[in-house]
Symmetry: C2
Subunit: 348 residues, 2 copies
DNA sequence: CTGAAAGCGCTAACAA
DNA sequence: TTGTTAGCGCTTTCAG
């Protein structure tokens, strides 16, 4: 035990099994085309020696890394108020795990970080990237494209559905616009006549899409009934105050997410408006720890966030497989938009 | 542009700069002992070619990976209600970034995952590990120790401060016990006489330590004034109800974290008890998005979570540096316990 | 079906 | 100070 504790190599496994390194390698990588008895012997040797392949050596020759970068570009602290990313990560992690791929997390906070991330991706350390939280003016997509790494985006990027330099953009998103429409229609169905919207941060497509959904239903709505928020509770409060000032007769609010809805709720309570009697409120995301804990519990548009994460990973992995020969899987995967559902609670 | 897009190698850089591969390597790795003009030439070549070192090749010979695993072992969904992990991750990420180290995220959900993580760590893919959220019966520490990877734990592990097989356990935690004492003393100072405690999940040391702190102050307290929670709002509600039933005269509550405090607050409101007039409430963590959003805003024991993450990473990196020669840095780093501060808001 | 041998791109002795 | 050279551990033709 006082020997050098260096881990056993394939060489050692081969020696112990009485085969060549090549055969040992074949067995370790699936064992196709090796006769059963040998397979068995190698397996045993692996077991006994506690052999684990050296990923570095393997990558050096295969040029695969079995690792995927997850880039979260959120300069604001929003990330932390919102369980959103944790859920996505969980979904991604689950999917990657089943494919024996590792998750390399890249958090960025400012301009410098972008450069760093770009370099890292260009460095060929990972097989692909999953990228979140793009803002409209984000330099990241450019850097990523330059790096030439297969990428799937979380949320529709701001540059439109089209191809970008002949590489089609693949993303996973929920039906923000449709979900918003459903929420507003529900308010209409409740008999509300003065329906307002608190937007999200309008440099993100999710906020824009939800606003569009609102307008789809409220054609000819009073522009004063739209107040700009930023997805935070504080933003929701501010917007709600504005709204109350501009249109005291407001009887319903659709907020761009649960967090801003919770802010709105607080202002309404403070002003003595009863929810939902005086003002009905609907959020978006159906983030359980928020929606269920507000007073009153929040009606919200649900999106399956963990599933979105899982799907992103799956699309990326499929694309990677396709690349490395497995031509079977049909064409290049394309973007996916997941449906939403309205979850009714007390607030509307 | 239609050429093979394979990235340039050191060889190419050397050729372009008119030096040997060794010299090019030296420059890329800091350039010590290379004469200025050559350094300059190599730098330029790197620039022009857009050279990025192949990490796999480098690891193969150096046996360093410039990567650290972060293991979050939280089978419950608590992770997502709580911005806790996101904050720690941010701290860790910042620190790792300044050391050019990568963050490999390992999320585990069940027994199988533990095995997988153990194998991964044993596989020598990373230089070290940062491990969170241990529960008392967790098999992970054993696996990790077996893997022989330098590790720093987040939160005091359950097996005591001592060494484990001659390797001292290093962890970073906040002063849970002291913070709890301060909170309870504050309640006493407020003139409260019937002070209750809602515990966290008692299979975690943080919950046990906070309970101990409570008892430090409330020696001879009525055992009926301690109700078991689990760090969730639902657990907090349940515990609060019990408490109200067992001791209707309760006039103060110290909850093991903000989430359970928020649950308690809800029950108190529902029962018509005014906070803080009838019952004073204190939480723990001072998680802003929670503590500031409750009604009324929550007095809480603050711990600097991001700093804890940063510190964990720093300790680990120092240990790694020490290992690889840099003997300068003094002895092996030991555990750190960070102080807490009581943040007064309205609830107490 | 199996083995021998040639590298993948890089660092680190060792020579010059 | 710089260059030469020998691998790091693995996969993958190519013979046998």
């Amino acid at each position: 035990m006082t020997e050098t504790a260096s881990r056993p190599t394939l060489e050692a496994v081969a020696a112990r099994a009485g085969v060549s390194r090549a055969t040992a390698s074949r067995v370790v990588n699936g064992g196709d085309g090796v006769r059963e008895p040998l397979v068995e012997r190698v397996r045993r040797a692996v077991e006994e020696l506690g052999y684990v392949p050296n990923q570095a050596a393997r990558s050096l020759v295969t040029r695969r890394h079995d690792a995927v970068a997850v880039v979260i570009a959120e300069p604001e602290t929003r990330v932390f108020a919102d369980p959103f990313f944790a859920l996505q990560l969980r979904g991604i992690s689950k999917e990657l795990t089943t494919h024996d791929s590792q998750l390399v997390l890249l958090l960025t906070e400012g301009r410098d970080d972008h450069v760093r991330v770009g370099r890292y991706l260009a460095g060929g350390h990972v097989d692909g990237a999953l990228v979140f939280s793009l803002h409209l003016d984000d330099p990241l997509p450019g850097l990523i494209h330059g790096a030439g790494v297969p990428t799937v985006f979380g949320g529709r990027p701001g540059w439109g559905d089209g191809a970008r330099n002949s590489v089609p953009t693949v993303y996973v998103d929920c039906d923000n616009r449709g979900g918003a429409r459903e929420a507003v229609r529900h308010l209409v169905g409740l008999g509300r006549t003065c329906i307002a919207h608190i937007t999200g941060a309008l440099d993100q497509t999710s906020a824009v899409d939800r606003l569009d959904g609102f307008r789809d239903v409220m054609v000819d709505g009073d522009p004063a009934l739209v107040a700009e928020g930023d997805f935070t509770p504080a933003g929701g409060e501010r917007a709600m105050r504005e709204l109350l000032e501009r249109r005291p007769d407001v009887d319903a609010v659709f907020a761009a997410n649960d967090l801003s809805a919770s802010g709105a709720l607080r202002v309404l309570r403070e002003r003595g408006r009863r929810v939902p009697d005086d003002v009905a409120v609907i959020g978006f995301d159906d983030m359980l720890p928020i929606a269920e804990q507000t007073d009153p519990p929040l009606t919200s548009v649900r999106q399956d966030i963990e599933e979105m994460g899982r799907l992103m990973a799956r699309l990326l992995l499929r694309r990677l497989d396709r690349r490395s020969g497995d031509a079977s899987l049909g064409g290049d995967p394309s973007s996916v938009v997941l449906p939403t559902t309205l979850v009714r609670r007390v607030s509307a």
